[in-house]
């Protein structure tokens, strides 16, 4: 006699079945993004199912995975780690997914050999610690030497960009990205880097402005060029400065009184403008709207005004010009004004922008991207964003390590040695971890169209023989010195890849039961 305890349509998968469905899902996700790995990885074209016209071409693991509706719980875990990797470091999203799916693939083989999942986890934990230690030992810290550090940054940017659409102009863009990051002076807030996309021109027409560009216009009849600008950045209402006391309402019994009130309103606005004039400025930038009347007053006072420069714009301007964001105007002496040498209207493509050059503080900057198609520009922005994220994180954690499969092989060597020192079934799991790590250079070689078995074994013997800077040259298909080739990656990125992938595979390995509730139906009466 059996009793059904679960709800209608709820399903349960147990033991081998549950494990199988977890592994299958994870491995499928890994295979999906595998082919985008490395400089010769290919892009994916994603077409929206709801909006047929909308499509996206990308190489970014996190973007691909985010856009695919998945039903498998294990797949969702992998998508989640890719997303977190994106938020933490900004790049390496494909690597983390591929590595954890490889770890699960190896684990599956061990489970077939009747090894308890918890034993595998134990082995994986040991292996992970050994791998991270080896990675740390192999990493180089140039943080104290500005010149070398800049070179590292450029190399990191180049490595990151080489797998993206920007690869043909990677020299150009890596310098651009490094310049932009160094401009932030240690802040990791990428919000301070504004990226303006304008279709037209070619990718290498993109530029980093030495000043700052705002997507706004001056008021009517105001000069298009101002030298030695003194800027007041404000967040105040310049439309109808309302009475803020709650419930206040106008009630008049004659048109004469109405006119009086209107006048009073105007006087109020005029007073405000007068107060602003006392700051001795020639440019006034407001986050909110500026109505015609105050704008006209500003024009008369030879003050240029810019309205509606939203939150980000105001914050960035404050950083660039070193001014304070102001909302009350009673104490001009206490307020810091922004400064810059020249403000002028410029044309990019067909649109008018305001350009601030010769800025005082300059802790924010603008990158203008040009390119042939919208999709291309979007992908370029994503790639650049990845590079910027990695760079900004590298300014915090200045250690670097080598790419091209070099770090993975070093870790795999250390893990293999640890396996030899371990007794019991754990050792098998540790070996498996080393194999999974070696899969990354294998996939890199495969994607580049080389004989991976040949190349990876060559790399392995090089690393084992003490040439610890060897890696794969994926353009020539040989083992080469990565330090010479300048293929450098951020240590933080690599560490996050290994530790997140190990954590995710552990989560999934521990599962022996999947209970699925009945999917909610789109039924309102329910």
């Amino acid at each position: 006699m059996s009793v059904q305890i679960l709800g209608d349509q709820a399903t349960e998968e147990r033991a081998e079945n549950a494990r199988m469905s977890a592994f299958v899902g994870a491995i499928a996700v890994g295979d999906l993004v595998k082919s985008t790995l490395g400089p010769k990885g290919m892009d994916k074209l994603l077409q929206s199912s709801s909006d047929i016209g909308k499509s996206m071409i990308t190489n970014d693991g996190a973007t691909i995975l985010k856009s695919i509706p998945l039903d498998n719980p294990a797949a969702k875990v992998l998508v989640n780690i890719a997303k977190v990797q994106d938020n933490e470091v900004g790049d390496g999203t494909t690597s983390v997914t591929v590595l954890s799916s490889e770890l699960l693939k190896e684990a599956e083989k061990l489970i077939e050999r009747k090894i308890h999942p918890q034993t595998i986890i134990e082995g994986y934990r040991i292996a992970r610690n050994v791998a991270l230690e080896a990675l740390e030992k192999a990493s180089v810290n140039n943080g104290s030497n500005a010149e070398l550090f800049r070179k590292d940054l450029v190399n990191i940017a180049r490595t990151t960009l080489s797998s993206k659409i920007l690869s043909q102009d990677k020299e150009f863009f890596s310098n651009l990205a490094v310049d932009a990051i160094l401009r932030l002076k240690g802040s990791t807030d990428l919000n301070n880097i504004q990226i303006i996309k304008k279709a037209g021109g070619k990718l290498s027409d993109s530029f980093l402005d030495e000043g700052f560009i705002l997507e706004k216009k001056f008021g009517i009849n105001q000069p298009k060029r101002i030298e030695n600008a003194k800027i007041l950045i404000a967040n105040t209402s310049m439309d109808t400065d309302k009475v803020k006391v709650f419930g206040a309402k106008f009630k008049v019994d004659s048109t004469a009184k109405l006119a009086d009130l209107e006048k009073a309103e105007k006087v109020k606005m005029k007073n405000k403008v007068d107060k602003i004039k006392k700051f001795g400025i020639n440019v006034f930038i407001n986050r909110q709207l500026i109505y015609d009347y105050p704008e006209q007053l500003f024009t008369d006072a030879k003050i240029n005004s810019i309205e509606h420069a939203d939150f980000d714009g105001v914050d960035r301007l404050a950083l660039v010009t070193g001014g304070e964001v102001v909302s009350t105007f009673d104490n001009p002496e206490r307020v810091k004004l922004g400064q810059c040498d020249l403000i002028e209207e410029v044309l990019i493509g067909e649109d008018v922008f305001i350009k601030f050059s010769g800025v005082a503080a300059g802790k924010a900057c603008t990158i203008v991207l040009r390119g042939a198609t919208e999709q291309g520009l979007d992908e370029a922005e994503r790639s650049l964003h990845d590079a910027l994220s990695v760079l900004s994180q590298t300014t915090r954690e200045t250690k670097t390590c080598l790419g091209g499969g070099c770090s993975e092989m070093i870790m795999s060597k250390a893990v293999d040695q640890a396996a030899a020192n371990e007794t019991g079934k754990k050792a098998l799991a540790i070996e498996a971890f080393a194999r999974a790590l070696r899969q990354l250079p294998t996939i890199l070689a495969d994607n580049a169209g080389f004989d991976s078995s040949d190349l990876v074994t060559k790399l392995r013997s090089a690393i084992y023989n003490g040439m610890t800077t060897s890696g794969l040259d994926l353009y020539k298909g040989v083992v080469a010195d990565m330090r010479d080739m300048g293929i450098v990656e951020s240590f933080k990125l690599k560490r996050a890849v290994v530790s997140s992938a190990a954590e995710a595979s552990e989560v999934l390995l521990r599962v022996d039961n999947i209970i699925r509730a009945k999917p909610r139906t789109a039924d309102r009466n329910h």
């Binding site: 875990v77 989640n80 419930g247 009350t328 104490n331 599962v511 022996d512 009945k518």
Partner: protein, 553 residues
């Protein structure tokens, strides 16, 4: 939708009692008669026991340090991966009433003790399993239940007898507390950074514990989670963590020696609570109002300034003008803080929550050593850490991890171990884990069985073998031979007269749980037995179930 409408128009004839009118058209006399179900007598009891058994078999594999996790997929496709019995059961889509009782069972263990939620369900399942055999022998269910009650009493007595009193000091490095926390964490994924989490749990409890009253106020321990990094990056913050940033982007990100004004009034123009109307009819009035407004803002700022505060924590929002005035006066401000967080901040900093600006006085300010802003990777998320508070009795556990599921599970695991440590602060008697406590109870009960007159003997033996199930399950989950382990251990406990022998789940080479430091609080174990026995009685007493046909919808 369409199918349902059809259903409305055309009722299901197969389940209805139908007659035909003179034209041969059917009309319904009793609708859905066939859907009404009734089960009674032994059949009902048996089906209940089977239901309980299948629930227990789901959570069974989570028991012990080598137990595995479950993936639960909610109606909306969200996934939870967990090892915690209470969480597994509460998130399952259950339809069976008896199964729901088991959910309640694990929940009450969770509420009362906080740990051992899997164990209690496994024991209840085993008790019912044993009861089934007795029922088949022809023993009346109530007799069985009575026998179980008596047996449970003996088991509890035995637990009291073998319990060791351990010394607990308020010292964070107290090895006993750490061991208990580690026992509870052993089965969870956080065993990856076992020592760290155990230490966090102990630190958290000890910093808020009230040793005189032997109580721990959980309100003072806050859990915050954030994906990113790995589990090792989790930490205990002796202070408060707010998911907010400073109100003005140009305020400094780090302040030392903070004097905090905690406000529940907005920095906005006054807003009377009574219904009112303010009518402006002349230009003079308009001007007067304008001045009033500005004066009001200045007054607010002055009030704060005069009290000597340098940080403003407010439950409500700020007007742009007020915000700038705060910046201009060098006051850092945080707005839109939730009610409970504000209270926590007040407790932590020893400040008073002030509802009016006029009431601000220097002694009502909270103090903290520093407030700093945390940034997370490449996202725009920010958090504020208030540290070095004057009242150290408020802590925040900050859990990190590489994905949502692991972070959530980390929070649950830490909560469990905090509960265990709290239980020890309340009652410092412990029993040994790894099935040792269950085994000694089982031995005591089966010994007592022989002295029973009448049918109770059977119930006693059944109770003892139900307790054995825990040991067998632990052994099975750890990949050991369950029967071999059980019989070996039983013989060993009986001959050595030691209540510390349990299953060596991790292959450490010894069965002495005292040596392996696997300890559980006594009250947790007692509660498991009591609750499970109670539930068994309740289920055995039911002999009739009537399920009315569900309404069509």
């Amino acid at each position: 939708m369409a199918a349902q409408q059809q259903g409305m128009a055309m009722p299901d004839m197969s389940n209805a009692i139908v007659a035909q009118d003179e034209m041969g058209r059917p009309f319904i006399i009793v609708r859905d008669q066939g859907k009404k179900q009734r089960k009674h007598g032994l059949e009902a009891t048996k089906s209940h026991i089977l239901a309980a058994r299948s629930v227990a078999s789901i959570v069974k594999t989570s028991l012990g340090p080598r137990g595995l996790d479950k993936i639960l997929i909610s109606q909306d496709g969200e996934i939870t991966i967990t090892n915690d019995g209470a969480t597994i059961l509460s998130q399952m889509d259950l339809d069976n009433e008896i199964a729901k009782l088991l959910v309640q069972l694990s929940r009450s263990q969770d509420d009362e003790i906080g740990d051992g939620t899997t164990g209690v369900v496994v024991i209840a399942g085993a008790l019912l399993d044993q009861a089934l055999e007795l029922i088949e022998k022809g023993i009346h269910p109530i007799k069985i239940a009575n026998g179980f009650d008596e047996a449970c009493k003996i088991a509890i007595q035995q637990l009291d007898k073998v319990a060791d009193e351990i010394k607990i000091s308020a010292d964070a490095s107290d090895p006993n507390l750490l061991r208990a926390a580690k026992t509870s964490l052993g089965s969870k994924i956080v065993s990856k950074s076992h020592d760290q989490f155990a230490q966090m749990a102990v630190d958290a409890v000890l910093s808020v514990a009230d040793f005189e009253r032997k109580d721990v106020d959980f309100e003072l321990i806050k859990m915050e989670k954030k994906v990113g990094g790995s589990l090792e990056d989790s930490s205990l913050i002796k202070g408060v963590l707010l998911e907010k940033d400073f109100s003005h982007s140009q305020m400094p990100k780090h302040i030392e020696d903070c004097k905090i004004a905690i406000l529940t009034c907005p920095l906005e123009p006054p807003k009377p609570k009574t219904k009112h109307k303010l009518e402006i009819s002349t230009a003079e009035e308009f001007k007067a109002l304008q001045e009033y407004e500005q004066k009001k803002f200045q007054e607010m700022i002055d009030c704060i300034k005069n009290s000597g505060a340098n940080v403003v924590a407010c439950q409500w929002g700020f007007d742009d003008e007020a915000n700038h005035l705060l910046l201009a006066n060098g006051l850092n401000a945080i707005r839109w803080i939730g009610g409970s967080e504000l209270e926590l901040l007040a407790i932590a900093t020893n400040g008073r929550i002030v509802p009016r600006f006029e009431d601000l006085t220097p002694e009502k300010l909270g103090t903290a050593q520093s407030i700093r802003e945390l940034e997370f990777g490449t996202t725009r998320d920010r958090m504020l850490v208030v540290e070095g508070c004057s009242n150290t009795k408020s802590v925040t556990c900050f859990i990190r991890g590489s994905n949502d599921m692991i972070v959530d599970e980390g929070v649950r695991a830490l909560h469990d171990s905090i509960c265990v440590v709290r239980n020890l602060v309340r009652d410092n008697r412990v029993v040994y884990g790894g099935g040792a406590a269950e085994l000694t109870c089982s031995l005591a009960v089966s010994e007592a069985a022989d002295r029973q007159k009448g049918i109770d003997q059977y119930a006693f033996r059944a109770f003892a073998s139900a307790l054995d199930t825990i040991i067998m399950t632990l052994a099975e989950n750890s990949g050991l031979d369950p029967i071999d382990t059980l019989s070996g251990l039983k013989a060993k406990q009986a001959t050595e007269k030691s209540s510390q022998l349990g299953v060596d789940c991790l292959g450490k080479g010894t069965n002495d749980m005292k040596e392996l430091f696997v300890i559980d609080p006594l009250i947790g174990k007692k509660q498991q037995l009591l609750l499970a026995t109670q539930l068994t009685r309740m289920i055995l007493k039911i002999n009739d179930v009537i399920i009315s046909g569900k309404d069509e919808y």
